[in-house]
């Protein structure tokens, strides 16, 4: 994600000094911006026991995520919070990102309905008929339907 540049500089009396500078690139900046936003989201919520930092909170959540992983072995699992048009992963497994778009997520449906969702196959659930993750199934269904109605 980021590193340091090492280079030596000759100074008087023939001694060398090693100067370390952080490499500032887009990844480094984005990483830090996300970290700051995550910390802000958590610190805004955590007002009473402010000894809880983002890291401590993540650590506490991670053990619960591990429990889920051990019991169900899902392909993806996560706890995330929404802010503006984004979702911020507090802890995740199988996603490999710190943020994501709210619109593209299946979970925006949960945010909208404010109810739990237990769906064995989203491809057969009409609530996700327009969603890219389920769209292929509905496209296939429509195509099959058209074919069966044809000559």
């Amino acid at each position: 994600m980021h590193g340091t540049i090492h280079f030596e500089k000759n100074i008087d009396q023939g001694m060398n000094a090693i100067i370390q500078l952080p490499v500032i690139n887009e990844d480094f900046i984005e990483y830090n911006v996300i970290e700051q936003r995550l910390s802000k989201i958590v610190s805004e919520m955590i007002l009473v026991k402010n000894y809880y930092s983002l890291r401590k909170f993540q650590h506490a959540c991670a053990s619960l995520l591990e429990k889920i992983d051990n019991i169900f072995n899902p392909d993806l699992t996560a706890l995330f919070f929404f802010q503006d048009d984004k979702r911020f992963f507090i802890v995740e497994k199988g996603i490999g990102q710190k943020t994501g778009s709210k619109k593209q997520s299946l979970c925006s449906t949960v945010l909208f309905t404010e109810s739990s969702m237990f769906i064995s196959d989203i491809c057969k659930d009409l609530r996700f008929s327009g969603h890219p993750l389920a769209a292929s199934f509905f496209a296939r269904l429509l195509r099959n339907s058209n074919n069966s109605n044809g000559p």
């Binding site: 993806l76 929404f82 739990s116």
Partner: protein, 66 residues
């Protein structure tokens, strides 16, 4: 993606209870949880909520009541 299980995570706001996030798990294949497994999943979702409640203060309260 096929199997999808999610529980909203809420927080008390001055407007009431609001959904601030989600705890979820998803499976690439069709996945049907039985009643016992659903109970376990809900239980862990509840643990997430308790964890959050334990470290959160409702947004309409302040640290300094005076």
């Amino acid at each position: 993606m096929h199997g999808y299980y999610a529980i909203p995570i809420t927080q008390t706001d001055h407007k009431g209870i609001i959904t601030i996030g989600t705890f979820m798990m998803a499976f690439k294949s069709v996945k049907e949880l039985n009643d016992e497994e659903l109970k376990i999943f809900k239980g862990i979702g509840h643990e997430f909520q308790i964890l959050l409640n334990g470290v959160c203060q409702p947004k309409n309260q302040t640290n300094n009541p005076a």
